[in-house]
């Protein structure tokens, strides 16, 4: 059986699943809108969590948060289920497909066979939609992929029961109730305010302050850790920033797209101006990544090169401090 579900590729998996499920239920909400209302934009430096032997740096809110905030702010209800027993998880999934209800699933990436091998890490917060089943094969709409794909029931069970941090435990979710009309205005304001609050948080590892902290640390890396480790750390920052799902520039372009849309909805001209500035900030992040890549490409460890990328990052931090101050006042 195949549900009449439209696969629309998105930059980020979670926004994409939400946007596509909303559309299936008759509500047009773009990916940037979901991201903005759900306050997806963030910067956070978590030195005590190591991913692939480097400190964790994230450019977005934690998995699940974006959808939850979005749902709360626009007034939809989501049903979430987890299952200890894989068999039960499968039955519930099949039941929903029978009822013509496509569902979102949280999965691990390591065993997702349709991903390039090089991208398959033990990352457990990926999202996709199942929109049908033919014999023993599930029809999969993975929003970050250009085309729809399939997984056998065995393959699907494996990714639904991946282990490790943020293990999905068969996590399945779908919206169950909607308001008569979506009132985006209030939700947009709430989403923006929340993002401004986080980006301007007086905490050294969060938001614009976090960016400046990392800039400071980068200057010390070559001396403290040696060339190899310093280059590895720098490469890790770029990977987090530009990995599939970010839409480029550490989600800054998606956010700029959101501000442009929000400017139309709220009829606030200033937001369109700020959208342009956010695009420039995104460009600055891209330039930073390019400079960083010159260092780890040559595997050199010239301290002035590290100081140069640190300068670039510090400039971004200062600009974002200024930017979110303006955005807060505009709303």
């Amino acid at each position: 059986m195949k549900i009449d579900f439209e696969h629309k590729q998105s930059a980020h998996c979670e926004n994409g699943v939400v946007s596509n499920l909303m559309k299936f239920n008759g509500h047009q909400v773009s990916e940037p809108m979901v991201f903005g209302i759900g306050s997806g934009l963030l910067f956070c430096y978590l030195p005590f969590i190591k991913i692939n032997y480097a400190p964790l740096i994230t450019y977005r809110a934690m998995a699940g948060f974006i959808f939850n905030r979005f749902a709360k702010r626009v007034g939809i209800k989501i049903k979430r289920e987890k299952f200890k027993d894989p068999q039960k998880a499968k039955e519930r999934l099949d039941e929903n497909l029978q009822k013509n209800n496509p569902v979102g699933l949280q999965v691990g990436v390591y065993n997702l066979v349709y991903f390039p091998d090089e991208y398959r890490f033990h990352f457990n917060a990926h999202n996709l939609v199942v929109y049908g089943k033919e014999d023993d094969t599930y029809l999969i709409s993975d929003p970050v992929m250009q085309h729809v794909t399939t997984l056998t029931s065995k393959e699907l069970e494996k990714v639904r029961y991946a282990k490790g941090p943020f293990a999905p435990n068969g996590h399945m979710y779908y919206p169950i109730s909607f308001p008569e009309t979506l009132h985006l205005e209030k939700a947009i304001r709430k989403g923006i305010k929340h993002t401004c609050r986080e980006m301007l948080a007086p905490v050294p590892i969060v938001g614009a302050k976090g960016i400046k902290t990392v800039a400071k640390l980068i200057r010390k890396w070559p001396k403290k850790h040696g060339a190899k480790k310093a280059n590895h750390y720098l490469g890790q920052i770029v990977r987090m920033q530009e990995e599939i799902g970010t839409g480029g520039g550490g989600f800054r372009y998606i956010y700029a797209a959101f501000l442009q849309e929000a400017s139309d909805v709220l009829k606030i001209e200033e937001l369109a101006v700020l959208s342009k500035e956010m695009t420039q900030i995104g460009d600055q992040w891209r330039d930073f990544a390019l400079s960083a890549s010159r260092i780890y490409k040559n595997r050199s460890v010239q301290e002035d090169a590290y100081n140069k990328v640190a300068d670039e990052l510090e400039a971004i931090g200062n600009r974002e401090t200024n930017f979110f101050g303006k955005l807060k006042r505009a709303i």
Binding site: Y53, P116, F121, M145, G235, Y253
Partner: protein, 133 residues
């Protein structure tokens, strides 16, 4: 970023995988999306990270043959796992898994425990016991 500036470099995303989506502005300054085949800057970062894993695999293999660690550490690296991930797959505490890295302890492991590890690594117990030189 302008739509026409979206990078089209070679990457691990080949024809069969399709392309990835970017947000960019069109000529009028309006936001739109565009596809990218890859960006060298991040492909190098990923390649370097994969190389680092290869190095750790080679190092673990060497130490297995020097009897300094058990095959469990080697296969953990092969499967791109870190200790907490492996511990979660076999349902044991991290310190216990770590203890199984000791060759002497590994030799005394029960068939049942070995099977747990073999399942986690998607190999047979025979393969688990023998790391090819």
């Amino acid at each position: 970023m302008k739509k026409k500036e979206i990078p089209q470099d070679e990457s691990f995303f080949t024809e069969e995988h399709g392309k990835e989506l970017y947000y960019a502005v069109d000529e009028e300054g309006n936001y739109t999306t565009g596809l990218s085949s890859g960006w060298e800057v991040k492909t190098i970062a990923l390649s370097n990270a994969l190389e680092a894993i290869e190095e750790r695999i080679a190092d673990a293999k060497k130490r297995v043959h020097e009897n300094k660690t058990s095959p469990i550490e080697y296969y953990m690296e092969v499967c791109k796992m870190e200790l907490p991930v492996l511990a979660s797959y076999v349902g044991m505490w991290v310190w216990r898994v770590k203890r199984h890295f000791k060759p002497a302890v590994f030799k005394k492991l029960s068939q049942k425990t070995l099977e747990k590890y073999a399942t986690a690594f998607d190999i047979t117990v025979e393969q688990l016991k023998n790391v090819a030189p």
